[in-house]
């Protein structure tokens, strides 16, 4: 495979009610989600999330964690009655751990996943605006970041569908050094060092200081570099879903795209057993932080083979392997996206090695550092000054008018990969080449007949049927426009659709 595989991004947004620091975050988050539903689909019934196939305690290493020993925060499949909306673009908007979360629809390539992730920012902007406009409601503000700089962190997770045949140990071995070092291009930047930000300074990654172990099932405590949650939302005999929790939430489309594209390439090499070199890092958890804490990108990482390499050099080694791999498998027939990911990856690494500041206006952390250094120089302030922490926070404000990233884009000072028109379309339209198409179209066309849905099902409540009709969508690559587009166009009602699909 190339950079193309089934993938998607889920992001927990930071939520704030300025002037009301005591506001209950779960309540505010529910208000945001509910306001979006009322503003966009007020008359439609609200489809529930179908938890039947969810198993968050399944571990990729092959055992199940007992429900008794699990922390309550790990039990995501118990419907707590918190707000939940399934969107017509195939995404899920809901409340998770006291944060509003947007789980983007399944996509088949890094550019599409970047597009529907960006659409999620627009959904959140709109949702918060509607929630704030409710009579008697305070202003609610949302941030696409990963920490409050006071000890709390919340995630932006990537998901990649992988072959079940690949031994998990191989994934851990070859992915860990990649994850420790990829932050040089996909870090979101952070003012503050240490989980609680007690130490002054700037670091590359929002998340690095919150990771404590190399491998594990947890996502909310003792966070691991490689997460072993194994809920494929697909045929478990054929697939696993790699649940990546180490990434920062990026505003930069270039950073999101590269993060997804390069990771997909490394996963392909692992599946094809292409990597024989040992790029193992001595003490990856400590090195993850050390790399993050050095914005000059010159920190030398002790490698298990005795070498000492910068994070950029480790990435260059992965890039070289990927170039050989793609040449070996595809030669001149390489697809455009894979070629583009390779070219951008090389360009970004090369310029980072020359001078990281050359990536201002392309990468989040460099741009944030440039702003912070600008204020330090202009106003003569130190790293502990609250203005710098505000710049860090407000960079990720989802509002077009107030978010600093959004202002930079509007001023033509930050490069984009996407057209705003297509982002707007992706707010309501699903990807056409995965089962998200079926889910999204059903919610668009038969909103009153969809009782519940999930990644791997759509459940209909049809007149004349005593029981609900569950249409499984276990294969992420079925239910596409090519498969069901004409059928949905043709069926005026959900009953007709279900009859055509099941013969009942």
């Amino acid at each position: 495979m190339s950079v193309r595989r089934v993938m998607g991004i889920e992001t927990e947004y930071g939520i704030s009610v300025p002037g009301q620091p005591g506001a209950n975050a779960m309540v505010s988050s529910s208000q945001v989600v509910n306001a979006y539903h009322h503003a966009t689909a007020a008359r439609a019934r609200r489809a529930r999330w179908d938890f039947e196939e969810e198993n968050p305690l399944r571990d990729a290493r092959g055992f199940d964690l007992s429900r008794d020993v699990a922390d309550a925060s790990q039990l995501t499949d118990e419907d707590l009655g918190l707000a939940n909306v399934i969107l017509t673009n195939g995404a899920r908007l809901y409340v998770d751990h006291a944060h509003p979360e947007y789980s983007g629809p399944e996509c088949t390539n890094p550019l599409a996943a970047t597009l529907w992730d960006k659409a999620g920012e627009r959904v959140m902007e709109e949702a918060a605006a509607h929630a704030s406009a409710m009579p008697g409601s305070p202003a609610i503000q949302l941030y696409k970041n990963n920490t409050d700089n006071k000890g709390a962190s919340y995630g932006c997770h990537e998901n990649y569908l992988m072959s079940r045949a690949t031994p998990f140990g191989e994934i851990v071995r070859h992915l860990t050094p990649f994850f420790v070092t990829r932050q040089v291009f996909c870090g979101a930047g952070r003012v503050g060092i240490g989980a609680d930000g007690r130490q002054d300074g700037f670091q590359i990654s929002q998340r690095a200081d919150f990771f404590e172990v190399e491998v594990g099932l947890e996502t909310t405590l003792k966070r691991p570099i490689i997460n072993t949650r194994d809920e494929p939302h697909a045929d478990p005999e054929r697939y696993r879903r790699l649940h990546v929790i180490i990434g920062d939430a990026n505003m930069s489309e270039i950073a999101t795209y590269l993060k997804l594209g390069t990771t997909a390439l490394v996963l392909s090499m692992i599946e094809d057993r292409f990597i024989s070199a040992d790029l193992g890092i001595d003490g990856p958890v400590a090195q993850l932080r050390a790399v993050s804490h050095d914005p000059s990108c010159r920190h030398l990482i002790p490698m298990r083979d005795g070498r000492r390499l910068t994070a950029i050099q480790v990435q260059m080694e992965y890039l070289e392997l990927a170039r050989k791999y793609v040449q070996d498998r595809y030669g001149p027939d390489v697809d455009d996206l894979t070629a583009d990911v390779l070219a951008r990856w090389e360009s970004v690494l090369t310029r980072l090695a020359e001078d990281p500041m050359r990536l201002a206006g392309e990468l989040d952390w460099v741009t944030k550092l440039q702003l912070a250094e600008g204020y330090r120089a202009r106003d003569g302030i130190g790293w502990s000054h609250p203005r710098l922490q505000l710049v860090d926070l407000q960079y990720s404000d989802v509002r077009a008018g107030r978010g600093l990233y959004n202002r930079l884009v509007a001023a033509g000072r930050f490069g984009r990969l996407l057209e705003e028109d297509e982002v707007r379309r992706a707010v309501t339209e699903p990807p056409e080449d995965t089962r998200a198409y079926f889910r999204g179209r059903c919610l668009q066309k038969y909103p009153d007949a969809v009782a519940a849905a999930s990644w791997d099902s759509v459940i209909f409540d049809l007149p004349g049927h005593e029981s609900l009709q569950r249409v499984p969508t276990l294969d992420p690559l079925r239910g596409t426009r090519a498969h069901v587009g004409d059928l949905i166009d043709r069926c005026a009602t959900a009953a007709e659709l279900v009859m055509a699909l099941t013969g009942k």
Binding site: E12, G14, P18, G19, A25, D96, H97, A98, H99, D148, N149, K150, A152, S153, Y154, G155, H157, I193, Q199, G201, F202, Q203, T220, I245, A290, H293, D294, P295, S296, R298, H299, L300, M303, R307, R308, L309, T310, Q313, M316, T350, A353, E354, D355, M357, A360, Q370, L371, G374, R378, P386, R387, Q389, L390, V391, Q394, R402, L404, L408, A411, R413
Partner: protein
């Protein structure tokens, strides 16, 4: 800045063949580019000043989140 090991080699290890691809820039060009960058950044800061939340200290202090995943 929490900069550690800043004096380390930039292209350490066995990566000889790549060093040619990553040509160092002449210092003159770097200096000019940096000066231009500073002018640009000042212009950006002027724009940002208009939208930054008032009372940064209070705003940042009250941004308290519950942990997530």
């Amino acid at each position: 800045m929490a900069t550690k090991d800043a004096g380390g080699q930039r292209y350490a290890g066995r990566r000889g063949q790549d060093e040619e691809d990553v040509a160092e820039q002449p210092p003159e060009e770097t200096r000019e580019r940096r000066e231009k960058l500073t002018d640009d950044v000042d212009a950006i800061l002027d724009e940002i000043d208009e939208v930054l939340e008032e009372n940064a200290e209070e705003f940042v202090r009250s941004y308290v989140q519950k942990g997530g995943q």
